[in-house]
Structure formats: C-alpha cells, structure tokens
C-alpha cells in the first residue's frame, strides 16, 4: 500500500447521479484516491490519450484504475475499452466495467475486449453500497499497483 500519491481512478459515466454515487462511496474510503469523472466516451479517450482539452499532461494524470460504463454518448464504452487495450502504454491499466446491463452479449464483448472485471449496478441501495465497499477494498486496499 502506497502512502504517497493518491490512486487515480478514471470514472467514465454519463449519468451524473450514478457518478455521484460512486464518488460518495469512494470518498469515504480510507485509501486515498482521486476520482476523475468524464461523461462520455470521447472525453475518456481524450483524457487517456492526452488530446483535445486534456492535452496538458498535468491535467491528465495516468489513472491506476478505470471504471467504465458501457453505454456512453459520443463514443461507446466498448470502443473506449478496445482502443485503450490496443495501446501499448494504456493496456496495462486494469479496467472494470460498471454498468446497468446484465446482458450476456455485453459481458462477452467486454471480456473479449480486455475488461478485467464486470460489475452490474444493483438497483438495491444496500447492495450497491456493499458492492462499492467490496470494490474499494479489493482494488484500493488489497490490489497492488506499480508506481
């Protein structure tokens, strides 16, 4: 567990309410983390590839972890996943899909495009909280990231 820089998590989520949920959950976490929220696929790509309004590397710190929703405006979640997994520099960033869709085809597509994990947003609040807690524990407390 690193005690220095906070872990950067890139949250790609178009629904502001859902982004709020994730933010609230992770904000309470004892492991320091900085949540970067982008609202569509194009913005996600811009951030990751440091282009467009994210041209300045200072404003686009390389994330340690990506939380990715599948249904995104402008550029689809799967497309984002595909692009980042094709890039030598970016493909090593673990990517967790967090989406409302439990469709088998979406799951298959996500995994075959390189997703590390697939989480379905529960409707039940308790469950969502539990999920976020577990998520936080696993990825931020237990999982190791390279420097």
């Amino acid at each position: 567990m690193s005690t220095g820089e906070p872990l950067v998590i890139l949250l790609v989520e178009d629904d502001p309410a859902h982004a709020e949920i994730v933010r609230r959950n992770l904000a309470d976490f004892r492991v320091a983390n900085r949540l970067v929220h982008v609202e569509d696929g194009q913005a996600a790509l811009d951030y990751l590839f440091r282009q467009g309004r994210y041209g300045d590397p200072a404003s686009s710190a390389r994330p340690h972890l990506i939380l990715l929703d599948l249904r995104l405006p402008k550029v689809d979640g799967l497309e984002v996943l595909r692009r980042l997994k094709e890039d030598d520099q970016l493909k090593s960033i673990p990517t967790v899909v967090l989406t409302t869709s439990g469709a088998e085809s979406d799951m298959v597509n996500a995994y075959s495009n390189g997703a590390g994990s697939y989480l379905v947003k529960p409707v039940d609040f308790t469950k969502f909280t539990a999920l976020m807690e577990a998520f936080g524990f696993y990825w931020l407390a237990w999982n190791r990231f390279p420097e």
Binding site: A17, D40, K74, K121, F128, T129
Partner: protein, 709 residues
C-alpha cells in the same frame, strides 16, 4: 395353199352340208358355254368335251399359255404316256436347262411349237394362211418331210408316232397374240378340209377372246372382292355420278353414310342434295363443277343430314373419267364419315388449349431441362414472371441464369437429382430475369429422365422475392425490437438505480442533518423520476406513430410548422430563437397530427442544442432534389461531429448527457418520416457550426398558388 382334190376330197365335199350343220351347232354350243358364268377351267373342259362329242374326233385338247410353257389346259382322248412327254413343249439340254433362242425365249418344240410361235410357213401345204397345221395322211401327208429327215421333228411328233393320221393344230389368238392352240387328233385319214380348219380358226378366235374376257373377269372379281373387303373394313362407300345422264349410283354403304334409303334411292341429283346440309350444297356443287372443268381430282367435305336430324361430317373423294375427246363421262369416288374423327380432333384441341392456358397462367413457371442442364421447354408463364420467352432460353444451360453465388449449390443439387430416377430436390436461389434483375425463386426439381413423355428434369419454380423481403423486414423488425427492449430496459433501469440509491442517501443525510446533501439528494431523485416519466411518455408516442390513425390528406407546410411552433413556444421564447420559414407554397401529404409532431421534435431539438449561440436562429426550408422536394430544419447551435451523425437517430441516444431530453425525440422524428415514405439524415460541419436535418416525405409538392394557413 391349194388342197389337192382327190376322191376322198370329193367324198368330203359331198358330206359338206352335214358338216356345215354340225359345225354350226358346235359353234352355238361353244359360244353358249363361253358366255356362261362358269369358272375358267370348267369352261375349257366343257369346250373340249363339246368339240369331241360333236366332231367325234379321237382326241381333242386345248393348250394355253402357262408361264413360258403351253401345257394342256384341258384334253380328252390323249393317253397318259402321251401327256407325260407332250404336255411340255420345252426342250431341255443335257443339263436339263430349257433351250432358249437368241431372244432368250424358250424354244417350243414340235409342230405345236411352230404353230404357237407363229412361225409356220404359209407356202407349205402343211400350214394354212391362218397359221394352222393340217395333216390328213400321217407321215404321207403332202408337204411333210420324212420323219427321219427333219431333226426338229425327231423324236417329237408323237401324234404321228402314235398313229394319229389326221392332226389339226389351230392357234387360239387374243388381240393378235397367240395364247394357245386347239388340237384335234384322229386315227382315221382325211378328217379335215381347209374349210373345216378355217371354221375352227374362226371358232378359236372366238374362244381366244372369250378366254381373255373370262380371265379379265376373274381378275376383276378377285379385285372386286379385295376392294369390297377394304371398303367394308374402313366403312367407305363408293359412288358414281354419270355426268351424261346425271344419274348417281351409290352402293349401300354410301347410302347409309348419307342417310339415304338404298331401296328407294332413284339416283337423282335432288335426292343427293337433299341429304346434304343446305349451307354445304353450294360448296359441293362448286367442287363437282371444278372437277369437271379443270381439276380431275374431286375433294370435298360436307355435312349429311339424316332423317332424324342428326348431322354427320362426310369426306368425299373422286376422279373424273373422260372419253377420248376429253369430255367428262362420269365422276367415280368414295365417301366416308369423319364425324367421329372430327369430334376426337375437337376434343383433343380443347384439351390441348386448356392445358396450354393452364400452363400459361399458373403462378409457377415450368421448365424441362435435359441431363446436361440445357433448357428443352419453358412455359409461357415464365415470361410473365421473369421476362424470358421460351425461344430466348431454348437449348441454353440453366446455369446461365443462376446467380454466381448460388451456382455451386445449384449445380450440386442438380447432380443429386439426376443421380436417381424420380428424385426430387427443393431449394431457393437467385434467378436472373430478362431485364437483368435478380429475383429469389423457390424451385422443385423432379427427375423424369426415365419417363418417355418428358425425358428430362422437370422444374417448377416461383418468385419468392416478396416473401423474402417480408422475411427480411420481419427479421429487421425483430432486431429493432430487441434493440428497443435492450435500450428501454437499460434506460429505465438507470433512473431507477438513482432513485433507490438517493433515497437511501437521503435517509442518511436527513439523520445527519446534512442539508446540502439532502437538497442534492432530492434533486437527483426528482430528476430521475421525471426522466422516467418523460421516457414512458415518449415510448407511448413512438408506439402510436406506427399506427396511422388519421387518414392522410394534403396540408400546407406553413400550417404544420406554425402549429409545431405553438407547441415549442415556451422553449423558443426562453432562448429567444428566431424562426425563418420558407415562403414556397409547399403541400405535405400525410397524417397532420404526426407531421406536427415531426416538426415539433426537430424544432425542439434545434432550440435545445443552441448552446452558447447569442443569436439563435432556426430555419425551415425546402430544396429541390433530383427525385423530389427536400425539406430541412437548420439551426446555428452547437452542431455535432459528423462522424457521430448516424447515432443521432438511435433510441435514447444523446450526444451530450448534460442536455435534457430522453434522446427519443429524433428517433420519433425518424419513425414519423419513415411511416410517411421518406428518409431523414443530419448534416453538421462540427461543433459550434450548427446542424441541418434534411428529410423527404412522399407526395410532397408545390401548390400552383400560394395557400393560406
């Protein structure tokens, strides 16, 4: 030749009146016999018997031609030994072949031979001017060379050898040809005089003629019998019209065929024509006249009407017989009934016509192809569906018209069918029509190579393009439904998640008295709830668009746009959007309510995406395109990246999540456009340069005069 007059001669002369009487009676009897209706061999036999009886000669015989020889047709008085050698007049060489002269004709031996060949010497006292041979004194007859001298008569002349001292050989002639001879033999001397021989010559002339006539009669009878048989078998009747006397002879069959009573038929023209159908009489008369005047062969068809009123089709054929001057003597011919034949023909024609009509009009096309795939027959119905006429494809291989992508499959199927007699294959493929377009067909191929009537592979196939299109449309609809359901479930689930979660957060925040967060929580909840409500509303509208509840009518563009503007007035005012509408007198055609909705969505969309534009403007206009009138709604708002343009119309798609709306508006617009037979697409140069939504609607037109609202 002068007969030597001797004492015996005198004795004969004094007996002349008795002889003359005898000869007269003989000639009467013989002529009577010849005229009797007896069979030929019997007649000859009787003639010989009569002569022998009346003359008292020892032996009488008649030789007649039989092949190349002249055997005795009848004889009375000759011994068997005599006949054994004398019956044939042919000389045979050592190797038993018949001796022939330089003309190839067989040599006839003996004096008989001389007489028969007409080579008698009239200067010799042995022969008469009429070609007869006359011997009264055996070997010592005047003019007779000694038996030992003339090798020709040795070993012949059996007559003399046998002691017949009086021999007369009289040729029997018919039409100047010698057809036989009458032989009169007697042992006594001096039986014949020149006069008596000349009498017999005359008699023989009569016999010759009568014989000829008899033979001809017999031949005629035989032929007649054959003809009768032929006519009876074929039920043909014979008739004759004697032109000179204008009398008609009909055999029984002819009468029967024409419905005439044979027992009362008088042979008059009236009776005949009465039997002919009134409409056909002129034609028959004309044909007869023509036969008489120009064409010797008579041919006609007519109807005979019987007493019971029934009509029978008759065919008549005949020939005109003329005299030496070319004048018509009679017309002879045959008739037969063609009614049955005609009926069969008519039935056959009807059946053929029906089958042809069936094949030409069935919805299937039918072809027959040979074992190599070449077309042997194509029904005319194929022309209707695919444009091909039978002559276009005759002899050409089937593969020429199968789509290249289906070719391999079809050839494999063909091979499978041809492999087994009676095998059937069914399938689908693309088939090229005459105009070059392709249609999907479903075919059935049946192997009938072994059936002698078809001797090929029978194909019947029909156009299933419509069905395929329907299948495709159904598949697409299904896919769309799936996409729709997927979208809906996600987009309803999302706000639900929000509501649930923030209600929980709300609980927590209320407990903690965190007013700021409480307010935020309420905000999120309310937003989510209203989003769901809006979504459901628009889903309902979307489902209604598919059903055109209102009848289509023409409605001016201006009226529609103004109504739509009323509905979006709030947003337009809030954003101060200026509106420009074309003044072209455009007339739209469709469901007015839906058309208003269409413009409402487009205008709403335009206003929503004005972004930071300080002078927001929306323009509704028309453009003329090659295939009709193009309508457009243009804004100068934020626009979009062209590469995202095709996602715009997707259900629930929103390019910018920060803007309001469910993302259904454009999907709704697209559905309305499609239902009205049009297309919609969007154009934008990029962010900040505005967007134009172009679309077509079927039956849009410009009015002649400007319409009011």
């Amino acid at each position: 030749m002068t007969a030597e007059v001797g004492s015996d001669e005198l004795a004969r002369m004094t007996a002349a009146p008795r002889d003359a009487d005898l000869l007269l009676q003989l000639s009467v009897e013989i002529l009577g016999l010849l005229n009797e209706n007896l069979a030929f061999p019997d007649t000859i036999q009787r003639v010989v018997a009569a002569i022998k009886r009346r003359t008292g000669f020892d032996a009488v015989g008649i030789r007649l031609r039989h092949g190349e020889d002249f055997p005795y047709s009848a004889q009375d008085g000759f011994s068997n030994e005599f006949l054994l050698t004398e019956n044939t007049l042919h000389g045979r060489a050592k190797d038993a072949d018949i001796c022939r002269d330089e003309r190839g004709l067989p040599r006839l031996e003996c004096t008989c031979g001389l007489v028969l060949s007409g080579q008698t010497d009239p200067t010799s006292s042995l022969f008469t001017a009429g070609g007869s041979c006359l011997v009264n004194r055996g070997w010592d007859s005047p003019g007779f060379p000694g038996a030992h001298n003339d090798p020709r008569h040795n070993p012949r002349n059996r007559c003399l050898h046998d002691g017949f001292n009086s021999v007369a050989l009289v040729p029997i002639r018919a039409h100047q040809r010698i057809i036989g001879l009458l032989q009169l033999n007697d042992h006594r001397l001096d039986r014949f005089t020149l006069e008596s021989v000349q009498f017999f010559e005359g008699l023989c002339a009569g016999i010759g003629l009568a014989l000829m006539r008899k033979q001809a009669e017999e031949a005629l009878l035989t032929n007649k019998a054959k003809l009768e048989l032929a006519l009876t078998s074929s039920n043909m009747g014979t008739w004759q019209w004697d032109v000179v006397t204008d009398k008609r002879s009909f055999d029984v069959r002819t009468c029967t065929l024409l419905g005439i009573d044979p027992t009362t038929f008088g042979g008059t023209a009236e009776e005949f024509f009465a039997a002919v159908h009134p409409s056909d009489r002129e034609a028959v008369k004309l044909a007869l006249r023509r036969t008489l005047e120009e064409n010797p062969f008579y041919e006609t068809e007519y109807r005979a009407i019987w007493h019971d009123g029934s009509s029978h089709h008759i065919s008549a054929r005949g020939r005109c017989v003329r005299d030496d001057a070319g004048q018509p003597l009679s017309v002879n011919g045959v008739v037969w009934d063609t009614s049955e034949y005609r009926q069969m023909q008519a039935a056959l024609r009807r059946s053929e016509a029906m089958q042809r009509a069936m094949i030409a009009n069935i919805s299937d096309a039918i072809s027959v192809i040979d074992g190599n795939g070449n077309n042997q027959f194509k029904s005319s119905s194929a022309g209707k569906w695919f444009g091909w006429l039978p002559e276009d494809v005759a002899g050409t291989p089937l593969w020429d018209r199968v789509h290249t992508e289906d070719l391999e499959r079809i050839q494999a199927a063909f091979k499978a069918v041809v492999a087994e007699n009676g095998a059937t294959q069914t399938g689908e493929c693309r088939y090229r029509c005459k105009d070059g377009s392709y249609k999907w067909i479903e075919y059935t191929a049946t192997n009938l190579l072994g059936d002698p009537d078809i001797a090929g592979v029978l194909l019947n196939y029909h156009d299933i393009t419509e069905r395929k299109q329907a299948e495709e449309a159904a598949r697409e609809k299904h896919a769309e439904l799936e996409r729709f359901t997927y979208s809906v479930s996600h987009d309803l689930k999302s706000p639900l998640v929000t509501i649930e979660t923030f209600l929980a957060y709300l609980e927590q925040d209320l407990e903690r008295n965190d007013a700021v967060n409480v307010a935020k929580d309420f905000g999120f909840i309310r937003n989510a709830a209203s989003k769901m409500s809006l979504l459901l509303d628009e889903l309902l509208r979307l489902s209604r668009v598919g059903r055109m509840t209102n009848p289509s009518a023409e409605v001016p563009l201006l009226a529609v746009v103004n109504e739509a503007l009323n509905l979006v007035a709030g947003r337009f005012a809030a954003r101060s959007v200026a509106v420009e509408i074309t003044d072209q007198p455009v007339l739209l055609y469709g469901d007015r309510q839906r058309l208003v909705e269409l413009f409402q969505n487009l205008l709403d969309n335009a206003a929503k995406f004005m972004g930071e534009q300080s002078t927001p403007r929306v323009e509704v206009g028309v453009e003329s395109a090659e295939d009709g009138i193009l309508l457009y709604v243009r804004d100068n708002g934020i626009g979009f990246e062209q590469l995202h343009s095709d996602r715009l119309f997707g259900l629930f798609e929103r390019l910018d999540p920060n803007t309001e709306g469910t993302g259904l508006g454009l999907a709704l617009a697209k559905r309305i456009v499609q239902v009205h037979g049009g297309k919609i697409w969007s154009v934008s140069d990029g962010s900040g340069t505005g967007a134009t939504f172009k679309f077509t609607l079927a039956h849009t037109r410009l009015a002649k005069h400007r319409e009011g609202t």
